[in-house]
Subunit: 470 residues, 2 copies
Amino acid sequence: MTLSAVRPQSDAADLPDVAGLAALLPAGTILTDPASTARYSHDEAEWAPWAQPLAVARPTCSEGVRTIVRWCLEHGVPVVPRGAGTGLSGGANAVAGGIVVSFERMAAVLRIDPVERLAVVQPGVVNDDLRAACAEQGLWYPPDPASSPWSTIGGNVATNAGGVCCVKYGVTGDYVLALEVVTGTGELVRVGRETAKGVAGYDLVSLLVGSEGTLGLVTEVTVRLRPARAPEQTVVGFFGSLVAAGEAVAAVARAGIVPSALELLDQHCLDAVNAWKDLGIDADCEAILLARVDAPGAAGAAEADAVLASFESSGASFAARSDDEAEADAMFAARRLAYPALERLGPVLTEDVCVPVGRVPEMLARVQAIGVQHDVLIANIAHAGDGNLHPLIITPAGDEAARVRAQAAFDDIIGEALACGGTVTGEHGVGLLKRAGLAAELPLAVLDMHRAIRRALDPHGVLNPGKVVG
Amino acid sequence: MTLSAVRPQSDAADLPDVAGLAALLPAGTILTDPASTARYSHDEAEWAPWAQPLAVARPTCSEGVRTIVRWCLEHGVPVVPRGAGTGLSGGANAVAGGIVVSFERMAAVLRIDPVERLAVVQPGVVNDDLRAACAEQGLWYPPDPASSPWSTIGGNVATNAGGVCCVKYGVTGDYVLALEVVTGTGELVRVGRETAKGVAGYDLVSLLVGSEGTLGLVTEVTVRLRPARAPEQTVVGFFGSLVAAGEAVAAVARAGIVPSALELLDQHCLDAVNAWKDLGIDADCEAILLARVDAPGAAGAAEADAVLASFESSGASFAARSDDEAEADAMFAARRLAYPALERLGPVLTEDVCVPVGRVPEMLARVQAIGVQHDVLIANIAHAGDGNLHPLIITPAGDEAARVRAQAAFDDIIGEALACGGTVTGEHGVGLLKRAGLAAELPLAVLDMHRAIRRALDPHGVLNPGKVVG
């Protein structure tokens, strides 16, 4: 294998002939027609830059992925891995002259082991499909990003996706035991283990999780599972102000309760959902909190009571345990529908900051002030229980001035999150949208450590160039 | 700062004058008298090689650690970090011509935050001391290695230490949120975060945890805490054979129970403990299992019943829920005392393999067969619930032939663990004793990834050279 430097940009005259790669793979693996390359050119981060790729590869096996990476190494062609394209930071956005590797045809659940409590899956398996397959055996795969009906385990691994139940059960990375990976030198290797514990060497699994395809292309994932849990109980609180809802979140933490969900939606979200699909949620308030607890039996009831007491002591205008499961499910459906409902109003710039739980009220107040200051509509959904806020900045389609103001608001929110001791991305990843934020968050010496690791594992610079760190 | 290549070995004529370093630090920081350098020359891995260090440094602050590392970089001197020296793989063993950095004088709990549920500590804090400090505020730091009365959080981080409750609550790395580190280029940096979630950049925290001081020297640790949990209930089972006890472990997993402890002790351990301290445990059996469960209220009682049923269906000669807390504590005390009790019989070569839980019975049978085959005494303690076995090979003091046979048994156990789909080290780390095992476990391409990362973060090769990977 001879290696070339990665081409800095697309230059048609200079591009290698992808037919050579196509010939190495089963027919139908490589797509080059403009409709296909356009369809795979970016994820859901509308505001991040992207380019039409040279080609799209849809391999059906790990060896196929290795063949693609080796060809890219030989020809100095960038490789951009892609799950379902539901990412919100541009991590899967195509690079000019590069090849997008879509894992849609590697979507098998290979094995579920009820004794070791693990599942082995291909990266293209949809999150909800894995959960359903596990449930059939009395097992549970917890990580549940809002994109779970569409997003894939491979994409979840690439971004270390969070979700709703993560406040109690942790994020994707907490469940990844082992990975099969094509490395930046074109090797197909396994890292990690199938045992409950293990410290044989550096934790390469955790290093790869969340690295957004910049340190290797994941071709198989082994995840840890839990036994199915007790049924959840729901507590709902309505609040006259965002800040009061934030105070209630901090009160739950102070009470020593770990809810299995603690979500915040503001009035803008509820209005947008109600205008789109009438879920029958009467919301005469500025924010609602949706909490769930899942301790078994009487302990769960005590948890629910403690959450309720925290809501009431924080000034909820109404708070109740929901005994009506349909009603509770409608509330959580509203939370899940908030993002697409808001997108109907115009392009949405999605924030993803995370602050210490005790700073949530303060941070929500700062977000509101930023909206006023820049004259932009900011709706708020939040995994409030772990301080992960998603201010959604909505601009009217085609309004360029509003778009500029939205960008300024986005930058200010990042600045305020850092001032609150927070981070620029709680669960969406750095991709392209948070590269400046990352540079603001990390000291230069730590960025240098990132670059050194990247050079070590992607010595030829072909793996998703331009993402995370330069 | 000018840099020198690391000296390959001690050569008195060629060694730098440590007085130059001592002059940069408060009086008493640097020890060079032979009694001191001998005292810090190795950890508890008796069989691993070690050397008398050039000096011992006992810094009192992070800046002091940086000063030491920078001086070592300038003079090409190896740096070996050391916690309490309770390690069992030789990771803290001194290197000829090197400096041992002991964190014993950096032992403060700096902050416990009950709302964010985290603690910030210096690396020299003893594990049990942190747990006690947290308990005063209704909080709990779970990782509980058997060395917890002596071992330090810094050492626990270096090895990613496990423990008894890890079967339900995870290992040290699952609790580390952030680290302050002196890097291989002499920078003092922070990695990680204080928020519940965060994906800003690569997971350098997990990479550093378990890296045994080869990628940086940890000078401060931020750990996640849990609320205090419900009281535990204990179930004890006596078994006529090791294999039957192993079957009971697999039966508990199949029953969908996650115990908060599931420990195995064999007759050799019980005999040794009884001969040392009479704990009143009558053990007419080949192995006992000690299980604990901690679901709250009736759910916990149901868990205990399910564990009991698993023990009985696997052929326990006696099994019971222990309502006598003193009796239950005595059982767990025996588990904790097993290692020092066995050491009274002669040098102990400690194994630390981990296999899939379903393979525990098979692996225990293989260990017994290896003991017979090599004519060595092998006692077994095990964190059986997560498949982490500690066969302890005991040889009479001074019996060189037995020592050679023990080494052969050690190697065979590693081989059998790998054949069972296991790992060569579940929680003790690679250090020196498991370097060959690591090379057997990992493919060459994965070892190359380790080396590339090590070169990236320790470009001058001063950080604990010779440990983990070359």
